[in-house]
Symmetry: C2
Subunit: 467 residues, 2 copies
Amino acid sequence: MSQNLSQALDYARNNHQRFLEELKELIRIPSVSTDPQSAAEMEKAAAWVADQLRALGVSEVAICPTARHPVVCGEYRCGLPAAPTLLVYGHYDVQPAEPLELWQSPPFEPTVRGEYLFGRGASDMKGQLLAGLKAIEAILRNNHLRVNLRFLIEGEEEIGSPSLKQFIEEYQHRLRADVALNLDSGIVAPDLPTITVSLRGLAYFELRLYGAAGDLHSGTFGGVVHNPAQVLCELIAGMHDRQGRVTLPGFYDRVRPLSQAEREDLARIPQDEAYFLKTTAAPALFGEEGYTPAERAGARPTLEVNGLYSGYIGEGSKTVLPAYAMAKISCRLVPDQDPNEVHEQLLAYLREHAPRTVRWEVVQWAGSPPAAIDPHRPEVAALQRAMEQVWGVKPAFKREGGSIPVVAQLKEILGMPTILSGFGLPDDNLHAPNERLHLPTWKRGIETLIRFFDNLGVTVGEGAPAE
Amino acid sequence: MSQNLSQALDYARNNHQRFLEELKELIRIPSVSTDPQSAAEMEKAAAWVADQLRALGVSEVAICPTARHPVVCGEYRCGLPAAPTLLVYGHYDVQPAEPLELWQSPPFEPTVRGEYLFGRGASDMKGQLLAGLKAIEAILRNNHLRVNLRFLIEGEEEIGSPSLKQFIEEYQHRLRADVALNLDSGIVAPDLPTITVSLRGLAYFELRLYGAAGDLHSGTFGGVVHNPAQVLCELIAGMHDRQGRVTLPGFYDRVRPLSQAEREDLARIPQDEAYFLKTTAAPALFGEEGYTPAERAGARPTLEVNGLYSGYIGEGSKTVLPAYAMAKISCRLVPDQDPNEVHEQLLAYLREHAPRTVRWEVVQWAGSPPAAIDPHRPEVAALQRAMEQVWGVKPAFKREGGSIPVVAQLKEILGMPTILSGFGLPDDNLHAPNERLHLPTWKRGIETLIRFFDNLGVTVGEGAPAE
């Protein structure tokens, strides 16, 4: 172990209690982004983050206004000519705490009980954000960093980052970097550190079918007019084959096949059939033949019905033959699928299969491409090695089934891949009462990030700083 | 023509203007059964009908209370020992008149314009009720009737006859008859008198599917858990085959095949493909292969989706994997199908086809058997001959696709078939603004009914009255 590294690790150990107190300070600011009354608290949290950056020696710290809540930016130049640049992403906003009566201690009065710190945002993601800042502090208080850093700390993640796309476009000169580090993902188990190497994309549609000019009496017209609700069901039923595969034409053409190594990585994720059955309480699982549950949930594309509506849905009976039927249908996409191509595939399916007894239209509500990072990149290798050093096991490479807008936007606008990781646990009660942070894992997380920055400098840096 | 008959027809012709004035009187009473403020008007309309019956010489006239609006009963005994008994059914309530601004003259101020009398209830069915009462008056003022009559005039037809079943059960000793005459159906065209010889029955279900314990994130769980909305669509899609036939096991086992004569009768109904396309504005028709539209709408059973619900149906997108999906599904039944058997058939279909990835349940909301009258019965023959005498053409035998609760209830509780006819036209604007009655057809209707009673007496009566 280099002297630099051991000094930084000692510093972190010696200052752990203060780090925890600072995290409590941040949690005490109720920065609930969805609350229209929260503007002052949001400003306060942004200022707190900006002060932290300034205290680290980060330059050009700015609290940049957006249409809603400000973004905190900043920059650290290590002075090494060939040093890589890392964009540290985070968010200082939190979910609402309601229902308050279910909290064992007040959500904005952080409380340690046993190995956990309880409070809104403790895990998602004020704890993760501080883990990153404190790892940087531990290095900078003792030595130099051998990477350049840029910071993008937003205040709207919990409301879907509505201002972020425009912000990234406008501020791209202050955000460009080789890779982003986003600690807003988690760890699948306390003994299995995790790097999320891909996110699924999303293509979300509304399919609307129109039959007769108005609702009809099902007695007078049943048997003569095609029922749009029935047609909708037939079209949706045809969108999967008997093997659970999606039948939109060309849907799998651009899906990268899973390599044996990738399948082995996914097999380490402790999310088997029993896990999903227990988590969902579904009577039985379902999915594409030939793939494990973890593969189906993260590495294979899907088509889901998110909503169905037609006719009369109140209590009891109404003998209506509906004039209209609607389905919300979305696809989760994997590399290298494209939401606009999937839109075309859906239209092609409908052109082929929709009967001439109905008129139809498709609205596309949302679309984001899938995102993946090459697990052989030096930055991923640096984090992987750090995790192995701290945990003594090779980290799991996870594929996340959901989408994270900022990851897609950084890729789309700046061509920047994201290393997605973090130290939150699946049972941290995110978005729920009694959110908590597992402090031993948090401590390991800070150590991991110190080693990550150290590994990263060794891997890609070039000796001593020029300054 | 007998002297009795010609006297009655002369009387009707000479009193036509007074008949019309009396109909206007009845229309002026706004007996809107669904209006909670209408109790006094409903009483007034019931009393008006009771007074009419008493003026005819009907005995035991009673205004019988129900949970909501009263039923008017009465009885006329002709005194002939073997005379048949006819139950005259009618309703004195009407639909609401709203939207009022679309009426050219006030709905409860009956107004003659051209050949039409405009007003709420003019056609449905105050005009039809009066046609019956005035035909009886025309006979009784001049001679004897040679049939016994009983009367059942309700005030809740336009709200689904909620009190009627219990009423028929309680008052069955005052209602028993050989056959009922219900003039609440119509005539398909001014030049084609019509007898409705069958009504379809109804079996109405709600199918509920349950998957996971709660709604799930479609990113995290899509591909692993079976989506109940998708399962629902697959189950519904499987309920029809490619020929448009219903696939519930045994569904057609008790369907009486259409004879060549019945198909020829139905071919006279002016409801061809062009008619249905124009009426519904559907892009194209649909239905069971091998049957004409009129056959499919009246003489063949159907299965319809009346409502669909699952997940998120608001504006925009929500990436939910729903825990629940629901469909309202109803079957229109033809003789000799039985709603309870169809319930069993639906359960058998679901037991065979529902996957074990979901739990399901079926609620039966409504069920009424199909109703048909033997067109060779003497009472039907008497009406058929009367129509031929007045119109100069053989009447059409129509099969109505909808259900009429009272027809099913009289059949079920009293075993009584119903002769269903009337003189309302398809363009009378029933339940809509500017409801109207075609006065020349109404006049023919009164003459038809006089001849019907006359034919009926000749056919089934036995000479002169005993009194």
